[in-house]
Symmetry: D2
Subunit: 297 residues, 4 copies
Amino acid sequence: MAIVLGANQYGKAEIRLLHISRDDGSHVITDLNVTVTLSGDLAATHLTGDNAAVLTTDAQKNTVFAFAKEHGVDQIEDFALRLARHFVDSQAAIWFARVAVEQYPWERLGDHTFCRSGREVRTAMASYDGRESWMVSGLRDLTLLNSAGSEFWGFARDRYTTLAETTDRILATAVNARWRHAGPLPPEPGSQRAVEGGPGWADSYRSARDMLLAAFADTHSYSLQQTLFAMGQRVLEGRPEIAEIRLSLPNKHHFEVDMSPFGLENAGEVFYAADRPYGLIEGTVTRDGAPPPGKAW
Amino acid sequence: MAIVLGANQYGKAEIRLLHISRDDGSHVITDLNVTVTLSGDLAATHLTGDNAAVLTTDAQKNTVFAFAKEHGVDQIEDFALRLARHFVDSQAAIWFARVAVEQYPWERLGDHTFCRSGREVRTAMASYDGRESWMVSGLRDLTLLNSAGSEFWGFARDRYTTLAETTDRILATAVNARWRHAGPLPPEPGSQRAVEGGPGWADSYRSARDMLLAAFADTHSYSLQQTLFAMGQRVLEGRPEIAEIRLSLPNKHHFEVDMSPFGLENAGEVFYAADRPYGLIEGTVTRDGAPPPGKAW
Amino acid sequence: MAIVLGANQYGKAEIRLLHISRDDGSHVITDLNVTVTLSGDLAATHLTGDNAAVLTTDAQKNTVFAFAKEHGVDQIEDFALRLARHFVDSQAAIWFARVAVEQYPWERLGDHTFCRSGREVRTAMASYDGRESWMVSGLRDLTLLNSAGSEFWGFARDRYTTLAETTDRILATAVNARWRHAGPLPPEPGSQRAVEGGPGWADSYRSARDMLLAAFADTHSYSLQQTLFAMGQRVLEGRPEIAEIRLSLPNKHHFEVDMSPFGLENAGEVFYAADRPYGLIEGTVTRDGAPPPGKAW
Amino acid sequence: MAIVLGANQYGKAEIRLLHISRDDGSHVITDLNVTVTLSGDLAATHLTGDNAAVLTTDAQKNTVFAFAKEHGVDQIEDFALRLARHFVDSQAAIWFARVAVEQYPWERLGDHTFCRSGREVRTAMASYDGRESWMVSGLRDLTLLNSAGSEFWGFARDRYTTLAETTDRILATAVNARWRHAGPLPPEPGSQRAVEGGPGWADSYRSARDMLLAAFADTHSYSLQQTLFAMGQRVLEGRPEIAEIRLSLPNKHHFEVDMSPFGLENAGEVFYAADRPYGLIEGTVTRDGAPPPGKAW
């Protein structure tokens, strides 16, 4: 049986770019980590080392920097989509491009002074196949904790089950969420629209993020799965431009310390924050009848 | 349009287990990181917080430890498969289980003394749906470097291409490889066979690993893609029990330092080892007519 | 010549503790990483394995949890000092204790809901030798950036100097600062005073932190060294209870991307954020005539 | 009271350098991480931003690369010392230089092919004040485990002590060791001598490392402190050129999993490898009457 090349892709990962907009007296900074991934007619470089179809990953890096200069950055969705379209439209051998962007948040301290906020990282992932575009927005590392309103009981029991039921536990997680915009995306990048006729990327992001926070805060939880679904549902109910959301929620365990050996009673006051292992709860919440995802993910 | 639950899964991640076999005078240690992922009839916990179908992630952790006691560990493929089968076969609500194991290598210094080798981590991922099983073996973080025998030229050029062609560059990567066994897997875990009638897991792993090293070493490379294909091809040619291999190869750039400002000529002697960005080359090599992957990945 | 035991210490590192104060309707959470280090009459355990003088690191961990229950946490300086005094005063063999605490900041989203801020980590390090106490407060990972008001020129030049002078560069750093309180510390832990008759720990911290930010923002900088001194000076001028401050400032390089190969001019808009190598500027600013540091560091 | 500048230093950290020696058919690679730290007459740059005395950290980086070209690297002690002497001897304002080098080990797979070993990192730290030189060699991240021959009992007990005594535990650590050469160092770098008339750096390192391994392996341990002293003693007894050794040994806890709830007996077979907290045992072993350390550390 012949040995053949299967699916393949290549690109430049983790291009760290800082853009400063100096248009007015007060600077605006945008701090990004950009990863480009391309696929297409690339059998030759794999099979014979003929690189005629290979746009170098060095050129991809240069393009990211040059586009920041030529077009600015502004919303990362627009920036990612502009790059994805460029690579496919300008390179005959490239049939599909995906550009993933992470944006690190900074707070303004002055006209030219900024403090990096370690809060959530905003993300965007644009995909383009020469005809259609897809957009996934999201965030990661949004660490949340409820010190009340979380129970966990009534679960299955087998020979290896020793966990005690509880009606009052700490629920903590680091939210990793990505949501797919229902499209159609605006025909031109830079239009600042999440979907045609819809809100802007910035509004869409901020609102989705706030809904995730609010749903985590006000859901009385019987399982992290229930909280996950509530978070996804909240976003889909509130943001019609979003078709689907995928959540990955580590259960950051906080174990109540047993103080009975010291003659003390720990009434939910002192906890050990564990590193590993951790529960990992992952799920998709989607809108019935939403347009299919195509190559969005 | 209704908002509905889509694909979901849960489990315990990164269970750090050390197993000591004391069967004879000389101990054998096995150092693992185990991640369990389950899916099935889990709508209730998401929608209402009814956890009757939820085998707790704490019990999953306990099971991993208990199975190490009851059955030993030995080859990680067997250990992973035994666990995957257990969760599906013993829990009515669980339809699919995946158990991923990382094994950290240790070198023996004495009967009871060991030194951790930081070389590659061996991996295995067993999947089971109640009827069929799939096995993916692999390794990660095998860092290799060729200081000769690597060229890169003849690539596409566009407005943003500035990279110089070279007929002598450093080629370095950290191999991340996973390969799918063609099956059928042996009906019982613990049989120590990679596939029915085939070699053992240990032999299969060691041989595949050695072939990756050999192909990296003796391929005169015109692109990292070419080296990737050669590595995959070597494994498939040599190991009939393997149907498909997926490689993810970061291009760990080493840039020759320009010493002309100091009046020195750098004849390929001094390089700057860059962190980011890095090229990332990913591809699959497969056997034409191999059995379909099913739920292996 | 005889081989002898020199300086030695031991303890439990990185005890991760979450404390919840439930005194009123609105919870208060305190998220800590505590490291205990003890030294004293410990030759026997080193030389013969006689552990009679060894308070186990496990007991040290238990003590940290128990003290959080018995005394609460509140200001980390008080918590650290109470623990340090306990270990020396209760163990005859222990002559010196140091307790270092890191506090991770959380923002309140609701009565029982919190979001972890990734901003700076607050630190405290209490030392006690059975008679005297010393306190060092501080912060780390406060990442700051000035996009204007930073120059670097007029530096020494040697054969290996190629750096261009600049009158407009980005200045970015991650502030790591520790400052010593001049004492005398209050005789009893829990008094909430930074020094006797002085402000509280919380006020002292908040004010010192704000002064670091302000000095970074409003110093027109000719070198990161100059900014370092200005930051330290600002704190010492404003906080009489602080005798000395030590700053460690990595120079997080942002290199302007050369776009001339693409026919573009980069007017300070697009920068590459480098990982390694980085400049590292470290210095102490002190008050002339301040009390000696003793065993504070 | 005046506010004054205290101790200060600056330099370039983490210069990642790969050197290839192509002298004969078989290449030799040396993979380093170099950190330069300088101090001297640097008040002006702190107080006024006058940089006339500042050798830029960029030039320091260039010097590291250029010296690798001009002199080769070979033993990291020689390389570090040559650099330290250069900075002080060539810059009037620089009175003290310290150059710290980490060397990542690679195994040879062929004439031009190498595989990175993740075993211990070799380290060297050279210090020079214009008259005298000091050398500290060492290693870090040498992870060792004894599955027999370790006890821990007879320790102090207080109200918070709950740990059970044991006559059979796992002892695991990641050795971080640094040792000071007694000097006098050879007058010229590149002489390949650890001390005048003594062995070469390579032999000295290899032998010290082997002695650390051997002492860990064959010491029946009643405490990690005892093992620490035995390791240091072994090195000092065997290597007359070494005056002092400092060891930092995390106690990498492995807890035996309690399987009684599952009706199983765990006879020292299955352990949970914990991340945090961990014990941290640190100590110095020295030769009575050794020359004073001066500015070695």
